[in-house]
């Protein structure tokens, strides 16, 4: 069983998380990935959130250069300000092995909707570029419920978008994400915080194994926690392989830049 990881990052956060362990450098991260036996990881740099997307994206590109194990995930900004023109973004993604995008609309103060991001969202649909969205990396003043409402609004406007919801909470979020799985066939959830007992089996029984993908959550999470839950879930080996890496690998291979 090969593990492909959709959710890792590195860099020192400006405000430390509750997890004592960090991966300050990309080499710290790859050491952890190697130890866990993770074949590929879609990673990002915390500076993309904490400092500025333009600076963080550049830091990520430099850090992953020549490291085949890592694929990049950049952070987007609205195109109207000229900070991140869509054509330039797409061209740069190709040259830097960036296969997915993240958005932090609350922290970066814009609205993740068609009015603001329409041209980019159209390209993401056409090129099947996944949007990774963390429902956890939000200011304390912003409720989790509002974050989910934002995703519902986004998908209603852009129903063919490939969306992977990551870090969706140790308090089980099935009541939030399952309607999205019902409505949109290119919505997926990651495992990095999907600790709920029997959750994997239950999601597979209802949706099949193709809607849930492994996320290590490194450096904050122990990567083996959900490896163990996947590896010994009461589902067949084919389903385990799909969750561990097969589905994510396919999503990555579908991206055209």
């Amino acid at each position: 069983m090969e593990f492909w990881d959709c959710n890792s990052c590195f860099g020192l956060p400006s405000k430390p998380s509750q997890s004592p362990a960090t991966c300050e450098t990309v080499d710290d991260l790859t050491a952890q990935l190697d130890r866990a036996g993770i074949v590929r990881s879609i990673s990002w740099h915390v500076a993309q959130h904490d400092v500025a997307p333009t600076i963080g994206n550049r830091m990520l590109a430099e850090a992953i250069r020549g490291k085949d194990q890592l694929l990049g995930c950049w952070t987007v900004l609205p195109p109207q300000t000229g900070e991140m023109p869509v054509d330039q973004l797409l061209a740069d993604m190709k040259s830097h092995r960036i296969v997915a995008l993240r958005a932090f609309p609350v922290a970066h103060r814009y609205l993740l909707n068609g009015a603001t991001m329409g041209p980019l969202l159209d390209e993401m649909v056409a090129r099947r570029i996944p949007l990774l969205y963390s429902t956890r990396r939000l200011p304390a003043s912003y409720s989790g419920q509002q974050a989910w409402q934002d995703l519902y609004n986004l998908m209603a406007e852009c129903p063919e978008l490939t969306l992977i919801v990551v870090d969706h909470g140790s308090w089980g979020c099935d009541r939030y994400f399952r309607p999205l799985l019902d409505l949109y066939e290119r919505v997926f959830v990651d495992t990095s915080m999907y600790y709920i007992d029997g959750g994997i089996e239950d999601v597979v029984a209802r949706y099949g194994p193709g809607r849930i993908v492994y996320g290590s959550g490194l450096p904050e999470r122990y990567p083996g926690g959900m490896m163990m839950a996947i590896g010994h879930a009461q589902i067949d080996d084919e389903a385990k392989a799909a969750i561990a890496g097969g589905t994510l690998r396919q999503l990555i291979e579908e991206v055209t830049l």
């Binding site: 130890r35 308090w171 904050e220 926690g225 839950a229 590896g231």
Partner: protein, 272 residues
């Protein structure tokens, strides 16, 4: 997968090991309003426990946590049906001291079901060191009970300061800090170092990489308890986290079963 040692390798391969059982010191049971649980009933929880090699679960039912009048009876019924797999904690809710008095009065007759008490201070909005609880702590001390307290960092209901206050006053109690004062790891470790009767319950701690290593480095490997909040968190996720941590196999065995076995032995004997 991580395979740093024979123990870890064997766990990855088989998912469970008879020679290294798991004892889960922190669970619940039944539905809960804010979360969908696929496996909340005792029969379903036993499936998960068997899947992961969990021999025994110490729990307080959700009903007991949030319905003071009826919930402890539910817990007792489940334990009496599966006495080799479940042990109960009697929930104490200081908002209803008349019910607490009732439950304390019948506790000795229910030792077959209950090995100790459970406080959920922040949820009940009654601090661990609230004077209303003095008689309950004294009751637990007299019987050398396990008292599992929900603890969390940075609060005034069940943070390190409140734990320290009661730990100093009641050294006879076996005090388990559920969630290990989440986020205040150094303070939790210091409490376990300062008081030989205080334990770090690792429920939810498994989501914080580095916390297990920190505790072991602070020398409290013999005071760490495996816990999952089952039916909240998969025991496999907890076990996989223990296997992932950069600690020794000795530490892993302490966490997974040895510490709990030592702690439980006299408590289970008292109920026979």
């Amino acid at each position: 997968m991580i395979a740093d040692s024979p123990l870890v390798k064997a766990f990855w391969e088989h998912g469970r090991l008879d020679e290294c059982p798991v004892i889960d010191m922190h669970g619940h049971m039944g539905p809960w309003p804010a979360i969908y649980f696929p496996r909340p009933e005792p029969e379903q929880m036993l499936v998960s426990m068997d899947q992961a090699g969990v021999r025994r679960l110490v729990f307080s039912s959700h009903e007991a946590l949030f319905s003071a009048a009826t919930g402890n009876d539910y817990t007792a019924r489940v334990v009496r049906r599966w006495p080799d797999r479940f042990s109960g904690l009697m929930v104490i809710n200081g908002n209803y001291m008349d019910i607490v008095e009732r439950d304390m009065a019948r506790f000795d007759a229910m030792r077959d079901a209950f090995i100790g008490l459970k406080f959920l201070a922040a949820y009940h909005n009654v601090a661990l060191d609230d004077p209303r609880y003095d008689k309950v702590w004294a009751f637990a001390a007299e019987r050398k009970l396990l008292v599992t307290c929900h603890t969390w960092g940075h609060g005034n209901m069940n943070g390190p300061a409140q734990v320290r206050a009661v730990a100093e006053r009641f050294p006879e109690v076996r005090l388990s800090m559920a969630h290990s004062c989440y986020g205040m790891w150094e303070e939790a470790a210091q409490l376990a170092r300062d008081f030989p009767h205080v334990y770090c319950d690792l429920t939810a701690v498994f989501e914080c990489r580095g916390a297990l290593e920190l505790f072991c480095e602070r020398g409290i490997s013999r005071r760490m308890l495996f816990g999952t909040d089952l039916p909240w968190f998969s025991p496999l996720q907890g076990i996989g986290s223990v296997l992932s941590a950069d600690i020794t196999d000795d530490d892993r065995r302490n966490i997974l079963h040895r510490n709990a076995e030592s702690l439980l032995a006299p408590l289970l004997a008292a109920g026979r």
